[in-house]
Structures are given as C-alpha cells and as structure tokens.
Symmetry: C2
Subunit: 395 residues, 2 copies
C-alpha cells in the first residue's frame, strides 16, 4: 500500500536513517577514519605544508590510478580546475560555451573568467544533466560549422566547448554527447566535480572530455578542505595544466622566470595530505553510499508523489548526493518538506536556482529549458553521508 508524500512522511522516513545519529544530520559530511592525522601531522613535523612536499604528487598518482586518466593535476578547488580546463581547450574572449542551466554556479563562472559567454541548455529527465539529444536538435537549428569551427548563426559568435556536469554523481549520456561534439567540432570538458567514483559504461567519468574537472570541497565524496583536480588523457595538455596552475614558472634552481600568464592554483601540500588519506578510503565510502541509496530507493517504491533518483542506464553512480523528485501534483509541497526537515535538524535542500534566471546571466543565450524548470521545482536532496549508509548496513 502506497504512502502519500508529505512533510510528515518524509520526516519519518528520514528518521529511520538518521535516528541513531546526532541532533543535526548534515546533507553530506566527511568521514576521517583513515590516515588523515598521520599524513597531516607529517606535513607539520617536516614543515612541508605549502608548495613543496610529496603529497601533491602522491594525490595526483592516486587519482590517475583510480580514474584511469593519464594525468591528474591537483589544484585549489573545482572552480579553478574548470577555469583552467576551459583555457586548455582554447576558450577565448567572446566565445560561447554550452553548459546546463541546472548546475552549480561554478560552471558558469568559469566560463565568465575566460571572458566567454555561457549558453544554457536543457537537462535530461533521466540523468538530470545535459540532454545530448535535445542539444543535437538545437545545434541543428542554431549552429553552423565553417572551417571545422562551430558558430552560433544567431549571435555570430564561435561556440567553442560543451561542459556537461554529472549531477549528484549521475553521469550524463556520454556516448551520445561525444558524437554531438564531434559532429559540431566542439571541445568536450566534463565537469566531474560531483562524480568521483562514478562510471559510464564501465569507464570512470572524466575520461570522455579532452580535459575534466574534479572537486574535493568539504561536502564532496572525498575532501581536501578545499581542492580540485584537472584530469586529462592528453599528456601535452597535462603538462601544460601543471605549468599554468603553478604560475607558469620555468624550472630553475633559483631564477624566477615565467613564460606566460599563469595562475596560483596549486593545491597546498597539507590539503593534498588530507586528500591522500581520503582517497585511500574511497573504496570503502562507495559501497556505504550505495547501501544508503538502495535503502532510500526501496523506501520510495512505496511512496506516491515522490520518487528516488536512481543511477541512469549504463551508469554506476557514486550516489554522491541522494535526491528525490516530487511528481507534478506534489511539487507545491517542496518548501514545506524543506522547512519541516531542516527544522528537525535533518538537512535537505532544493536543487540550484537555474543559472539562466540569475541577474548576471539573465541575458545569456539559452534554449528551451522546460525540463530543467520542472527539475528546479521538484528536486529535494536528502542526507547522503557515507557513514549513514554504514550505520544502515550494520543495523
């Protein structure tokens, strides 16, 4: 017998997961059960906390091994990673860059940092991320390719790149997207900020884009305090990524010579130390998060008016942030659910406001965003920390 969704039924369902927990249940909090103290203390003991030290190299090697990319470059945060990714694929002033309207602000801001213009596109009902089929149809209408370069027929501007974001860890339909990008000579940059540990057709996200960005912010599946990484299978771009994120200094024992505009985006050694300890535990976090997601998924089978967001076809998701969707008749309950859960110390939140509706991006080009608009009104994220899954599994 189905249970009708309401603020009360959601609160009571969430209590099953969180009841044994503290007064306040975060949406996603980190777990430091491994070598965090040991590695961080090693930094303090040796004095190597900053731009010199072994943990940055080690973190990059661990990321390469885990994701399968040829080169990972650790940086200060996911926004910085995205900014450099766009520079690396040649995004320049007045270019347009295609991004989903439904994403975190960093995706659009990184475009702006290149003096380029975000061009907002719609999301897929299934993946919550950029819809490649709808994008293909749209490009057929508005784009033309001349000399292997894609132009927006309406604005006259070059369209340089496409940046899908793997929402809450769920990969977009990468095969189709790669095909669309090839057809229109667009560079593919994966915003994999949320998808460390997520796979599409058996290959880790971040392997499809020419370059890709990870985030290790405090709310992510692993954290370095603040941090991110650039991933690429192009070794030349990988070397360039390292060079321009470390002020483009030409290696020399004492001379200070820089050969191009660079950025001070290097991850400090102390943050990388934390990251190494966290990455060691990722294989332990992933099944716990999956167990929690499966619990939620089963619970919501019995709900009317709300459904759990499960991993898309061909994907194995990290289930970074669990989400439910309210069906059309129940979307008006969203704010009541947010209020009731947060008042009871169980943190929930809606998805981001569509970027195309923010004042600084209101004039940016956009396609029909009907799916994204529906998702914006209907999604609620629910507590997702790995330890909640552990508790549930053990219970």
């Amino acid at each position: 017998m189905k249970q009708v969704v309401s603020a009360e039924t959601i609160v009571s369902m969430l209590k099953q997961v969180t009841s044994s927990d503290k007064d306040f249940v975060a949406l996603h909090e980190p777990s430091f059960q491994g070598n965090e103290w040991t590695y961080v203390k090693d930094c303090l003991d040796t004095g190597w906390v900053s731009s010199v030290g072994k943990y940055v190299d080690r973190l990059e090697e661990m990321l390469q091994e885990f994701t399968g990319v040829k080169r990972a470059v650790a940086v200060v945060n996911g926004t910085a990673a995205l900014h450099i990714c766009l520079k690396l694929v040649g995004v320049e002033r007045d270019d347009e860059v295609i991004i989903p309207a439904l994403t975190f602000i960093a995706t659009a801001n990184a475009v702006t940092y290149c003096d380029a213009i975000p061009h907002f596109v719609d999301s897929s009902e299934e993946t919550l991320g950029l819809d490649p089929l709808k994008l293909g149809d749209y490009l057929q209408e508005i784009a033309e390719v001349r000399n292997h370069t894609c132009f927006n027929k309406k604005t006259g501007r070059r369209i340089k790149a496409v940046v899908p974001m793997h929402t809450f860890g769920h990969p977009v339909e990468l095969d189709t997207l790669v095909e669309v990008c090839q057809r229109y000579h667009l560079e593919l940059v994966e915003d994999a900020a949320e998808s460390l540990g997520s796979y599409y057709k058996g290959t880790h996200t971040g392997n499809w884009g020419r370059v890709s960005a990870l985030s290790f912010n405090g709310n992510k599946i692993v954290t370095t305090g603040g941090g991110g990484a650039i991933l690429t299978n192009d070794e030349t771009l990988g070397r360039l990524a390292k060079h321009i994120t470390t002020t483009a200094k030409v290696p020399h024992k004492w001379e200070f010579v820089h050969d191009q505009i660079g950025y001070n985006y290097r991850m400090p050694n102390i943050n990388a130390a934390l990251g190494c300890a966290q990455l060691e535990q990722l294989p332990d976090f992933l099944p716990k998060k999956r167990a929690l997601a499966k619990f939620y998924e089963n619970q919501f089978l019995h709900f009317e008016g709300a459904s759990f967001v499960s991993e898309p076809k061909h994907c194995r998701s990290n289930y970074w942030l669990n989400a439910i969707r309210l069906s059309a008749d129940y979307m008006n309950l969203r704010d009541e659910i947010l209020r009731a859960t947060n008042e009871q110390g169980m943190m929930t939140r809606p998805v981001w406001r569509l970027l195309s509706s923010l004042p600084m991006y209101a004039d940016a080009p956009q396609m029909d965003l009907s799916v994204a608009k529906k998702l914006e009104q209907s999604i609620v994220n629910i507590p997702s920390s790995a330890h909640l899954g552990g508790t549930y599994v053990e219970a």
Copy 2:
C-alpha cells in the same frame, strides 16, 4: 679591516648563522612550535575542514587586531587577494594599473586577470619598492586628469590604480605615494604579501591602500599552507570582499541564489586553523627575525662590495627576507655567489627577473627602469627563517 666580497667570504659568513643547522638551509621555512597541531586536529575531529568552521572567522579577527584594519577577509592565496582588491577598487577591462617592474609575478598577473594592463614603474634605491617621487614626475609627463579620472595621454587608456609592493617586508614611502595617488585620482592598493609585521610611521602596512593584500604562502613569515587575506578600512568594501570571494551567494538556509559574478576564493577552515596557530606566534617570530637581520647587518659593515639591505627610514620592517646588494664593481659575482651557496646547501636566490622583460609583458607600457635594472642584477637573498635568528640570539 674590510673583507672583500666573494663567493667564499659569503659562504663562510653564512656558515656562522647556519652551521648548527641541517645539511640544507632553506631561504625561509616555517616554524610550527605552537598550537598548529591542536587546531588542525580539532578540524579533523569535528569534520569541519572546509567552508564551515570557526577558524576562518578567528583568523580574520586576529588579523584585524594585529594590523589595525577594520576588516580582514581570508582567501586561498595572495594572488587571489590581489585579484579581488583590484576588482574592489573598480579596475576594468583595458584600464592601466601602475605596478613596479621589480615584484613577484602575481602583482602583474592579478592585473591581467581583470583584463587590465600593467604599467611598469621604477623602484627606489632605498626601499627596493615603487619610487613615489619618480612616479610623480613621470605622471606629470604622461598623465592628465579629466573629470576626476586619470588618463594616459600616450595610450588614451584610463589609469585606475597604483599597486606598490613592500619588497622583502620593507615598506615603500607611503606618505608620498598617498599624496601622488590623491593628486592623480588613482586608487591605492597595497601588495602587502611580504609585509605582515611591517610598519610605516608606526602604522601597519595595509592601512594606506583602500584595500590591501596579504600572503600566507609556505615561505612567508606566517603560513596557512596556501592562503592570503584582503585588508580594508572601508567596511562596505570589506563586506563586498567577503561576498564576492564566497561565490556571491545570497545568505539562505537552503536556497542557492547568487547575485553577481563571484569567486571561489574562500580559505578552507583547516588552513585557517594553521594560520591562527601561526599568528599567535608572530610576536615571537618578529624579534628573532630582527636579531638575524641585525647580525647580518653587522657582518656586512665589514664587507667591501656588498651591503645589507636595512629597513628604510620611518619604517619598522618584518625583515621577512634578508637581502644583500652587490655594488657596481662586484655585480659580476652574483651568479658565482648563488652557485657556491646553493651547492653548499645554503639556499640563496636572486631577485625576480623584471616583469617588463618577460614575454607576456614585454609590450606593456613602462617608464625608465634604470634603478630596477640595477637592483635586478645586484640583489641576493640569504637565509631568513625565524629559527635561525633564535639560534643566533641564544648562541
């Protein structure tokens, strides 16, 4: 009786300071003798390593108390601090910003990040930093003020700001510079990356600029791994600095709304924890560094061909990085001195290559740089860690 400067005499002088030390003596290494571990462990124990936590607020309060500014905003590094300082005073695309040719690359890059153009000016023999009198004469020749706005008569571009950098911790002549800036309606932004603990006429550096930037990189007098801060006595700008360095998110318990282009420049809590412990020890580091500088100063009284760089008139310097200057007849020894000292494990380095000579800035406007060119060839930095002064004082 004077000793003639040579690679050998410098090596033997440095050995007096460093002999009791390790095989390798860094130019500047941090000292973690205080509450570093306690505070960092507190972050790990509570899980608050990232964008939430008490240490960022505490670090900002400590910086306000120490420097006397009304508002300090902690950010990821000194480059980010400078970038935002320039945004805050209204630097826009195609503006010119006056900076010394003799500074670290970050000063120029921050200007470039605003799509503005660095305009390189000469240094003072005494302070090693921007020479305000020479700047005044130069502006009389090339600048005109119309409607309270300064223009470069040659390029037609607006000149918006002046960014002096307090080289190695030695303050520039701020009184005169403030007067020049007022006369030409130029915004003053202090690049105080190297001068935490340095005072001009009894007031801490960073109080003269409308906004100023600090750095807590690993080689600085106090470190947060990587980090920096924006300082200002203008409370409105201080609030704006906080807002745009934290993605310009409008405060709300769960909504994600951003009201302008922002940056992900917030310092992570774990780095701020390190910074709080370091700042507690700054009053202990400063006299040790002064003792080391005084030792060097006395040694070089007996040298012919090299002199120690002492704090300028009206200044109390933090002596962040000690430096010697070779006189004209001995400048050809510089590379031999660098080689001999570094080969013996005593780290020394020349000053930065003039930014106006780097490929990406070769076409930028510049005045006569004769003093900076001489300084570029004649300066050698010598080991400066606080603990070396402690050793010396105790010996």
